[in-house]
Symmetry: C2
Subunit: 281 residues, 2 copies
């Protein structure tokens, strides 16, 4: 089997290079690859050390490393281009066409998207995360007035990770409410949710997967039994249907996919400029 080392090199965190690079690499089925992220390469000296590291890898492995980079300054890029790896810079490739289209020169500044320039967006994400923690698992329902979206579903259907992801990544204010015996017996929405019907979004999951997840948490419990799991999921589904609540089966979804589907469905993905999400470069 083919084997390669993939370097993600950035003058900032390297997260963008990693994300896109991984997406590209997973398109190659027959390949095993090893990831090395090299963040904060913001000087020629650091760039030269990185080149040495890449060249050493090339020699030891007898195969050309792949380099995905997001480098803003030409000076540092010039150093990396000279390495023995296959060098691909995500910035360099697209900045030219954009400059021509916009008839503007790009600033070529490291860190534009981060820190001071974006404190509003940053503060919003921290606020959003605190909001998500305060309004997790029905702990408090006082914040629902301010919530952008309220997830409902049975225990372990994916509510908490999705809420935290939406908060940290998009600066969305999410709450979540666990559906349990009380709601299922009455067959109606809890009173606390009634005023916020339009903010509700349901999560469901396959019985097999839910049983597995719950069994890891509390093996052999009623909570994890096939009967209980199936009863809860059927009741939740009935509640969604009865109240016209859109819902998603999370069994085969990643956290990103769940978050994105929820936000898309609630019309929360179209934003004016100054996005709440800063751009991890």
């Amino acid at each position: 089997m083919n084997h390669r080392t993939v370097f993600f090199v950035s003058d900032q965190t390297g997260i963008t290079a990693e994300t896109l690079g991984h997406s590209l690499m997973t398109q190659f089925d027959g390949l095993k690859f090893r990831s090395v992220t090299v963040p904060f390469i913001d000087s020629v000296d650091k760039a030269k050390k990185t080149v040495n590291r890449i060249n050493l890898t090339a020699e030891v492995e007898g195969a050309r490393p792949i380099i995905f980079a997001t480098l803003v300054t030409d000076e540092i890029r010039k150093v990396l281009v000279e390495s023995r790896g296959l060098f691909m810079d995500f910035f360099d490739t697209f900045i030219g066409p954009l400059e021509r289209e916009l008839e503007l020169r790009s600033s070529h500044t490291v860190g534009m998207a981060h820190g001071v320039s974006n404190t509003t967006a940053y503060a919003r994400r921290i606020d959003a995360m605190n909001f998500a923690l305060d309004n997790d698992d029905g702990a408090s329902t006082r914040g629902y007035e301010r919530a952008d979206v309220i997830l409902v579903g049975v225990s372990r259907s994916g509510k908490t990770p999705t809420c935290l992801y939406m908060a940290l990544h998009y600066g969305i204010f999410p709450a979540n409410y666990p559906l349990a015996e009380e709601e299922f017996e009455k067959g109606q929405l809890p009173a606390a949710l009634e005023p916020y019907r339009q903010k509700l979004y349901g999560l469901t999951i396959s019985p097999e997967r839910l049983q597995q997840v719950r069994s890891e948490r509390r093996p052999g419990s009623r909570y994890a039994s096939a009967q209980q799991v199936s009863f809860e999921l059927r009741s939740a589904k009935a509640l969604f249907d009865k109240n016209g609540i859109a819902f998603l089966d999370t069994s085969e979804c990643s956290i990103e996919e769940i978050a994105s589907t929820v936000l898309h469905s609630k019309g929360l993905l179209d934003r004016n400029d100054e996005p709440a999400q800063p751009d991890p470069v």
Copy 2:
């Protein structure tokens, strides 16, 4: 001022297109832009509807929209290319050079990086998030044996968001422990942390910023007073120095930068293949 609408089009969540696209757009100072994310464009029909939407925007605004795409299948890309916007596909551009270098054909399959193919990584991230929540703010110290890293710092120095981000994004198992009066009076590490010295990483923050953050939380309190804030930060710094704990000033950092710096410093960024972080496409 120049104004443009930017579309992020993907057959999956659009998160990669957004992240890289935003990074590129913020390189243009004199530009205001509006973001529209169009996820899950996985059929020719949906692609055609998206083209209509883009063309309508072009007409209404009298300016060519910018389109950043991550599309795996040529069939759908062909439809988008025909729109009146400036079309740039992050996949298409780099797949060719990679295929030649690796002497492999890419699978051109939507969703490779997600869902079923990556359940291990997915389960790991969920476990990591539950671990981070269970081991937040010194709530429990029993998990420290399993922790990859333990953040220490005063209240509101950025520990919780950084831990949740590392867990959700990297599948890292993080804990955090708040430094408070007791540690400062004794001038030494709490006993619970002693066995895990090599896992510790310190966060600090400027007195001005900490006072601001705490004042928003509890206005006029001793907790938010200049004197208290300055005392705590000095004591924490002294503790880091005395115990040789590496630390970072988070005042000007985004969550991504803090997380990335911590992981880099702890050697947690180099991974073998099958990364814990799935690739949001």
